[in-house]
């Protein structure tokens, strides 16, 4: 079989590029561009740092460096536009001079900023959609490794939660609350025009110039069948400034897990006391181990704390060189990150390089190349997950009387076990050893490349052709030596297991676009865009699992006695997408704005009967403040009303979902022979298609008092229909489900953003704040199906998505009379056991089935999310505080099914000491009697009920940074800024289930997973508090 990986299906796909190349090279027209240098300052003479210089009508531009200097290539008669936040921009027609110093008047007009939008850029003032941009400046100081972390709290309508503190992982980004039953809900990430197929989690944030988040249909519809979850456009740093600029950024610090927020568990004495009482209450002899609890005084073993790395270092270096020469612009960013995690034996390293370059080979032709290789290495012990999956959960509930270390301080090597007579029914490994010895490492190499050519035969008409490639190789190695395990009840020595996995992704994209700009009679501004693109993706994976090693030191494949065939496999995933796109933008005097866009996508994922989808949108805007009648209202410096409507899709439906597949691993055994077996494993659906979202957006931009206060409001309403839904069908068919486009969810919400300049002058204080209210309701599921159950959730028509579902606890039965006179569970309700609300009033408490007493008992979605950033500068000092929060959401605390297990096999929450022991000693009313055995005590832990629900509202001070800039150049540097920063400084919350109120993950049963089961805390890796010192050098 030929190697299809390198076949790539390119065929005629790239014809456009070749054609364009020939076209460009035949071009002879040459115009001379001059290199212009100069300085931009405010009217008070102070240099303006980061001021933008753009050449009107092109995408060429530059920004000023730390001293206000710039350099740019410009041709005669081109118009240079100088702009800076808080200053009136100024246009200058270039007439051949070598230097140009510009002074801008403070005016606070921010509206002429150029904003990157899909397939181009636009002047902010003229945008009709809901687009929010965030620049490098707002991101730069935060000592976090992921872009998602940097964005937390800064974007209205975007909820960003860090579900786990594992380095490099766990950012959950949802734009406008978008979700789906089973299709993916992550936004589309587009890096320099290339929709990447991986995630941005590992991208070096220092490579980023700015980020635009596209929220409404008018902004996203050019991304067609991939737009429904919103689009994040990432633009990397390009050559700018004047000449060559070198800067070096470094920070170093340490990470900690604060004591506040940790789950309060019993210590050794409290636990022994509990066990003593357990036997006393059961009127059984107390095992000798518990007869004298005070013997454990001073001998507590805090298993959770033992897994915590007390001061985990983090260090980052970034070298950035930008150069802007005549006819060439280059930018290089090289980064090294080295992070230890706050759980022992966590290691995260990233080496990254990005080289962006562009060359004007004539005054009509520009070519450019971006190359960004990257290597990440990650080793994280199996920390996260349910009981028996993640060592953090395991450690939490391990008996504090079990020693962690030998008397000489070394880690206990023996299998950790009390006799069964103590009720120790599960075997425990030593979790510290497990964290130290389990190998769970991922090495990722990633190469992202773009090559493009632009050809502008006549002014205003531009052809662009690009080829983009992404190669991502992930190498995973797991080794579980015989001496360690992350599972519970697996005695040591256990069977050593190795897993090797190699995943190779390759994606290419060819895009060919033409744009035409024309301004007619000064007043009519028109831009047309047309394009044709093809994208292809292929993933090949192999996995080999081997077990039973004679020697843990040699975890090779050949060193294993057994190859696990069921977990040894290879796979291929492929998709292809062909698209046509067009957009028209028109405005009259910059006052009446129109934007219409359409994309047509053909996808290999869609069923044969439904292969092409069309995604149109239209946006309208009216700059009210430009009307004559508004001149009487000087307080209003700018006002725009805008609206948009469009239809977009979500194609995250799986690559082969439309096909009826044959599973050829259903092998039979006959005597000693194995015979290959095959069966149909899924039903075909040739009509399968994308999820369809129709979105309306109404917005208002209002700037007051010379832009001292800038206010933005958006209302949106979305209807997502044709949900990819694996409809459960009667299993008499031999199948569990049928993949169909079915059902509908309605979303709506309000987003408010406000930027204020509270003080100007010597002390400059600005505040950015945002708040968003996102709501959803399930309009329809499948015919005849009005609900989907998960382990802890229900998604039900007429209700918001994925609500917590369970019994309502009413405390404990007070006494026998209470049992007799109340609804109960036949044979399992006694004085001191959990009393449950008989929701259906039939007198019997039932969990599941036809007489279910479960009801909706909580909501994992917040009432609102908000963020606030304050920035104060005084002379050479700067001070910045970022906060963000979530209000009204709840979390299901999974671990209490272990940590409140009344049978005593696990360590318990400290407050279980205060449980029901007798009518006169009923405790908190939260935990029942320990008497009666698992069938009785098991109700309150096995029947999911309202006791599991915790308020997870929080407000977190994400970052506090104090910086000082040395403006006087030294021999070594041109300028230097030093700063101290604290990340995740304070978390204000009532959440009691663990250290991270943002934790959220799903279970593994029907109706679980992804969106259907949000807001379950399975005891994930803590998000650390990080203290750093940093320096930014400019040379």
């Amino acid at each position: 079989m030929k190697n299809k990986f390198y076949d790539l299906r390119m065929g005629n796909r790239t014809g456009g590029l070749l054609l364009a190349l020939i076209f460009f090279l035949s071009s002879v027209a040459m115009a001379q561009a001059q290199n212009l240098r100069g300085k931009v300052s405010g009217s008070d003479g102070e240099p303006l740092i980061g001021a933008a210089i753009t050449i009107v009508g092109t995408t060429r531009g530059a920004t000023t460096d730390g001293s206000g200097n710039f350099a740019i290539d410009v041709k005669n008669n081109e118009t240079l536009r100088f702009s800076s936040v808080g200053f009136t921009s100024k246009d200058v027609v270039y007439s051949g001079q070598k230097t140009l110093n510009i002074s801008l008047a403070a005016d606070n007009k921010t509206l002429n900023e150029i904003v990157v939008v899909g397939y181009g850029s636009q002047v902010k003032k003229e945008i009709t959609g809901a687009v929010q941009t965030i620049g490098y400046k707002e991101l730069k100081d935060l000592p976090v490794t992921q872009i998602g972390q940097k964005l937390q709290g800064q974007l209205a309508g975007v909820q960003i939660n860090q579900t786990t503190g594992q380095p490099g992982k766990g950012m959950n980004i949802r734009i406008r609350g978008q979700l789906s039953v089973s299709a993916g809900s992550d936004p589309l990430y587009v890096v320099d025009g290339f929709p990447i197929t991986g995630t941005i989690g590992a991208m070096n944030p220092d490579e980023i110039e700015d980020i635009s988040v596209l929220k409404d249909a008018a902004s996203t519809s050019l991304y067609g069948s991939r737009a429904a979850n919103g689009v994040v456009l990432i633009t990397t740093k390009k050559g700018k400034g004047s000449g060559t600029n070198v800067s070096f950024n470094v920070y170093t610090g340490f990470q900690q897990v604060p004591m506040k927020g940790r789950v309060k568990m019993m210590d050794a004495v409290q636990f022994a006391q509990f066990k003593k009482e357990f036997y006393e209450d059961a009127k059984q002899p107390v095992p000798v181990e518990f007869q004298n609890p005070s013997q454990y005084a001073g001998k507590n073993n805090d298993w959770f704390d033992a897994l915590i790395n007390k001061n985990a270092p983090i260090t980052s270096y970034n070298l950035s060189i930008t150069s802007n020469k005549e006819k060439s612009r280059t930018s290089l960013v090289a980064g090294v990150l080295d992070q230890k995690g706050v759980v022992i034996n966590t290691d995260y390293k990233r080496y990254s390089l990005r080289l962006n370059s562009a060359y004007d080979i004539s005054d009509k032709v520009t070519i450019g190349f971006n190359v960004a290789p990257q290597l990440t290495y990650d080793n994280t012990p199996r920390t996260d997950g349910d009981r028996g999956t993640g060592i953090l959960f395991n450690a939490l509930h391990t008996w504090p009387i079990m020693p962690i270390y030998e008397a000489d301080g070394t880690t206990l090597t023996k299998f950790n076990r009390f006799p069964a007579s103590t009720g120790n029914i599960f075997a425990y490994a030593n979790w510290v050893r497990s964290a130290q010895e389990l190998v769970n490492e991922t090495t990722t190499t990633n190469l992202l490349t773009n090559a493009f050519m632009e050809y502008e035969p006549i002014k205003g008409l531009k052809f662009k052709s690009s080829i983009n490639g992404e190669i991502l190789r992930t190498k995973f190695f797991f080794f579980n030596p015989s001496t360690a395990t992350s599972a519970i009840n697996t005695p040591i020595p256990t069977t050593a297991v190795s897993i090797r996995q190699n995943i190779e992704n390759l994606s290419w994209l060819n895009e060919n676009t033409v744009t035409f700009n024309k301004t007619i009679n000064e007043d009519h501004k028109l831009e047309l865009l047309g394009g044709y693109t093809n994208q292809y993706f292929r993933q090949e994976s192999t996995q080999i699992q081997a077990d039973t090693y004679s020697d843990d030191r040699l975890p090779t494949i050949q060193g294993a006695i057994n190859i696990n065939r069921g977990s040894t496999n290879s796979g291929v995933q492929e998709w292809a997408l062909t698209s046509f796109l067009a957009r028209a933008t028109y405005n009259y005097k910059g006052k009446y704005l129109l934007n219409a866009a359409i994309r047509r996508d053909g996808s290999s994922r869609f069923g044969l009967n439904n292969r092409w989808g069309t995604f149109p949108s239209v946006g309208l805007g009216w700059v009210v403040s430009d009307e004559a009648f508004m001149q009487d209202m000087p307080a209003v410096s700018f006002m725009k009303i805008r609206g948009s409507f469009g239809e977009i899709g979500n194609n995250n439906i799986g690559n082969y979902t439309q096909y009826a597949l044959i599973n050829n691993t259903v092998n039979g055994v006959f005597g000693n022979n194995v015979a290959a077996g095959a069966s149909v494993s899924s039903l075909a659906n040739p009509n399968l298609g994308w999820e369809k979202t129709r979105q309306l957006d109404l917005g208002l931009d209002l700037n007051l008092w010379n832009d001292r206060v800038n206010f933005t409001y958006d209302y949106y309403q979305k209807n997502t229909s044709n949900l990819l839904y694996s409809v459960q069908i009667a299993q008499e068919s031999g199948f569990g489900n049928f993949n169909d486009n079915i059902g509908e969810i309605k979303f709506w919400g309000h987003e408010f953003g406000v930027n204020t300049k509270n003080t100007t002058g010597a002390v400059k204080w600005t505040t950015n704040a945002n708040i968003s209210f996102n709501r959803n309701v399930v309009v329809a599921l499948a015919p005849g199906i009005d609900r989907v159950y998960g382990t802890f959730h229900i998604t039900k028509v007429g209700q918001p998505f994925g609500q917590f579902y369970g019994l309502i606890s009413q405390g404990m039965y007070k006494n026998q009379a209470d049992v007799d006179n109340s609804p109960k569970i036949p044979g399992r309700s006694f004085p001191g056991t959990i009393k449950i609300w008989d929701a259906n009033g039939d007198g019997v408490i039932t969990y599941g089935g036809n007489n279910d007493d479960r009801v909706i008992m909580g909501n994992p979605f917040p009432d609102f999310v908000y963020g606030i950033t304050n920035n104060v500068t005084y002379k050479t000092w700067d001070f910045n505080v970022i906060g963000s929060g979530s209000y009204g959401n709840q979390m299901l605390v999974r671990h209490i099914y272990s940590t409140a297990n009344l049978d005593g096999p696990f360590n318990l929450l400290e407050e279980v000491a205060n449980r029901w022991r007798s009518e006169s000693n009923p405790g908190l009313g939260k935990y029942g009697t320990t008497v009666g055995g698992g069938n009785v005590t098991g109700i309150e832990r096995d029947w999911i009920n309202s006791r599991f629900i915790a308020d997870a509202s929080y407000f977190t001070i994400r970052n506090i940074t104090l910086g000082y800039t040395f403006t006087k150049p030294s021999k070594v540097y041109k300028s230097l800024r030093v700063y101290a920063s604290c990340q995740q400084a304070f978390v204000f919350t009532n959440y009691w289930g663990g250290p991270n109120p943002e934790a959220s993950s799903g279970g593994g049963n029907t109706g679980d997973g992804g969106n259907l089961s949000q807001g379950v805390d399975f005891s994930s890796y803590p998000v650390p508090r990080t203290f750093t010192l940093g320096a930014n050098f400019n040379f």
Binding site: T578, G668, V669, G677, V680, A684, G848, N850
Partner: protein, 494 residues
Amino acid sequence: MLAVGLTGCTESFLDIAPETSLSSVTFFKTQSDFEQAVNACYVPLRTIYNDRSWLLSEQHSDNTYYARNTAFGATEQQEDLADFSIPVSNGLTTNTHVLNQYRQDYLIIARANQILALIDKADFDATAKANLKGQAQFMRGFAYFELYRYFNKAPLQLTPVTTREGAAAKMGTAADLEKIITDDLIGAAANLKPKSTQEAGRATSGAAKTVLANLYIIQKKWAEAEKLMKEVVAEGNYSLIPDYNNVFSTSTTNKNNAESVFEVQFQEGSNGYNGTFMYNFLPRPMLETELKTLSGTSNPQPQTGEGNNIPTPNVIAAYEAGDLRKDASIGYITCSSTLWEGKTYPIIKKYMKTHSLNGNHGMNWPVYRYSEVLLFLAEALNEQGKTAEAATYMNMVRKRAGLANTTATSQADFRTALMQERRVELAFENKRWHDLVRTDTYKAVITAYGAEIKANPFSYYYQKGYTLRSNSFSVIEKYYPMPADEAALNPNIK
């Protein structure tokens, strides 16, 4: 502009079929395709016999019980079956074992339906085709027979489902099921090879006749049953193995032996074809040293949780003095760490065979043995008044067990003796509950059995001071209620 002329090959660019999986469009053409499809029909039997049958047919009778571990919860699904207290509401139950048994049977049926719908049109060797078609008919008939015995009604799904709407089938009555089972098994008996030429472990014509005879006996069609069983005896492919100890397969050998009519095939090893039922049948908690005496593996691991399918004092007492089958069927193990003060539990020795890897063994499960053929024949003859002839067949079974000829001479006495013989000969082979149902003795026997446990919970492995749950022995019904989860998906299920 550049795009013009580039769209010609767009459709082929977008045609991407899965590379690592075949699609049903291209499958079901060749002999090899149908062989693979037939092999897949057998696969659900592994799940059924490893995980469910013994819970629904043996522990749901007076032969076995669970060994309560009061330190362990979340065991009510099994306990409800043993205690005759499964939740029933509107003729439906939420018991997961009932649900899973039901679903696995329909998985067999769906796979067989695929074959039976297409095999006649496929073009390949007629002999091979007959043998393949016969196996599909056997598997479908067998699966419907299981549903018939458990539920006495079931949805009728006889063609492959291709649409969402087609999944929910109409309910069939007992008579509908009897007709399908009869037709399929008559067809299977005609199409299948006999044991002498069939690959070991596959369904044979003799197996098809035995299942059909089992149905006839339930239907009290004694003459038809007699005829079929005599054909099987006359085949000469089957015999009783002289020593009852050697009747049951080990983890690697003695499979599909001379006495085997049909057995579920397991294979030890890490390929996933193994069984684990022996471990389910262990009293718990059990130390690794104690386990090693039974499993013989190099890596025994301590067993926690609650043990199931523990022989009852009731069944132990059922063996006549001198019955060699008693020691061959039942052994004992002492669990020093259990909370039950008795410490020494009986275990099903038939299935306790040493093997290599902890939790992974290859013993086959006996579904039909030749001794049952003889007992079916004896029963069919006796019910037609031919008691003397019947005795010759039952005495063959008794002789092998080291027992004298039966003393029963009247039809009624013989009937009692035969059911007693079935109980001990076929103990722990998932026959007991079905025998109680078809002889309509289930209510009396189980009621007395419940009273026996309640009177002396300690002898039924309850720790001192503990007793049965209060709802025990409150739902003694002839047939299982239909699974509630399936009723929610198929409005025809009531």
